[in-house]
Symmetry: none
């Protein structure tokens, strides 16, 4: 007989705050203020913080990176640009093929994505990666 | 120490197909063709079928009812109209306070929502309720 | 004398379910979970299923591929990328020039389109093509 | 001579985190999980957290309440419903005339808005008010 439901894992709001706090610490260390977004179930945004001095429109880019990494379960910069831009228009910007988004994988479960925006793509990625390391999440492929 | 993740349950695609098939059976019995939408994690659409003869734009109303029931975890018609219309504009139509959407609760877990559209609100609700009963999901409050 | 109406053929909801079921079977055989969308008359979505493990945002890409194939009556990857992206912006993402969408042609009538998303473009196309073959629809040009 | 610029005050990201943390504490005390959004300069979202168990679509309602309170510099429920719904359609949902959003006024400067969603309007307001009190912001008119 077919199963109606299957077990899953969800990121807690405490986990979200710890990711955001760790990203802020790394961003402060680098002197690069960013917007930090976290996506959870169904690639919906569950957390966000815009740091002092970061670009106000980083909300949308960081959120898109978080949703993209959560849905694709891979770093955003691994998506080929042409494919990613096609998906971006179709999803009205929810998918973005730009560097700075990483999947959140804890104990083997992908429970969402983190996206940073306002730095260079490389800075955004370094900050996102540091946040994952701080909570003991898996380090995604480079 | 705070938990980073918590256990959850997800609706399977076999569960989705069984809900849709059961809704079709009830709709055929009533002679009321409808659009049937299922929302899952994060109130995202995971299944849809438009029956022969149903209104083509039912996709959007049925999907909104499914997302609303999944997010609010209550029947869509329990949302006061004025509040619901405010939420509807703000969510660009993802929330709708019209009858025909019910939460999907299995073994005590709300795993999504089902929404029907194209009949009267009462017919839509009867069909959604029959689909839930057919898979052994909880019968939501009237 | 001019005719006011002309005969047409429409895909039934049973046809939609058979296409989706056949796509699921092929996707399971390949071990590549996808979102599967079917567009019918007027390039409107008439069916959708997100498989367990597929990307949640595949709803939008699979639907766009299905609508594109139904409207253009050709495989989505035959649309030149630059033209397709122009159409994509204009149609707010309803047209997408990415691989994975095929027209549904039965007895010489194009009655819609099928679109798959979440795999690579090539995987998405193989699954869509298998679904068409399973119901005896025409095999679109490669 | 006319001045080209005037002094202003901005909410810091530390202020944002303290507001969110205080809202979480009050929501936990009440047993009412909510989404909490903070808007800053230009009525742009600068912080967000969705609590475990809150409605996923609360992101959009809480954010709209925060933007509305920040822009109007008054509690969201003081906006007449009919006027508010007109503004809501025009702003594509950024303004919402539903209870649960309050301006953030510190040392006489309105520096943004806080919006809560997922509870009843009254619960959302109580939680937002508690967050303002916790950081020593002004208590907006009832």
């Amino acid at each position: 007989m077919t199963e109606l439901t299957i077990p899953s894992r969800k990121l807690t709001h405490d986990g979200v705050r710890r990711l955001i706090d760790a990203a802020v610490d790394k961003a402060n260390e680098l002197g690069v203020p960013v917007g930090i977004a976290i996506a959870g179930d169904g690639a919906r945004i569950v957390g966000y913080l815009l740091m002092d001095g970061a670009r106000p429109l980083a909300q949308e880019s960081a959120s898109a990176k978080a949703m993209t990494a959560a849905s694709h379960r891979m770093p955003t910069h691994k998506i080929p640009y042409d494919v990613g831009m096609g998906l971006s228009v179709t999803t009205q910007g929810k998918v973005i093929p730009l560097r700075g988004g990483l999947p959140i994988v804890i104990d083997g479960h992908c429970v969402g994505g983190i996206g940073c925006g306002s730095g260079t793509g490389e800075e955004d990625e370094v900050i996102a990666r540091a946040a994952l390391a701080a909570i003991g999440a898996e380090n995604p492929e480079a």
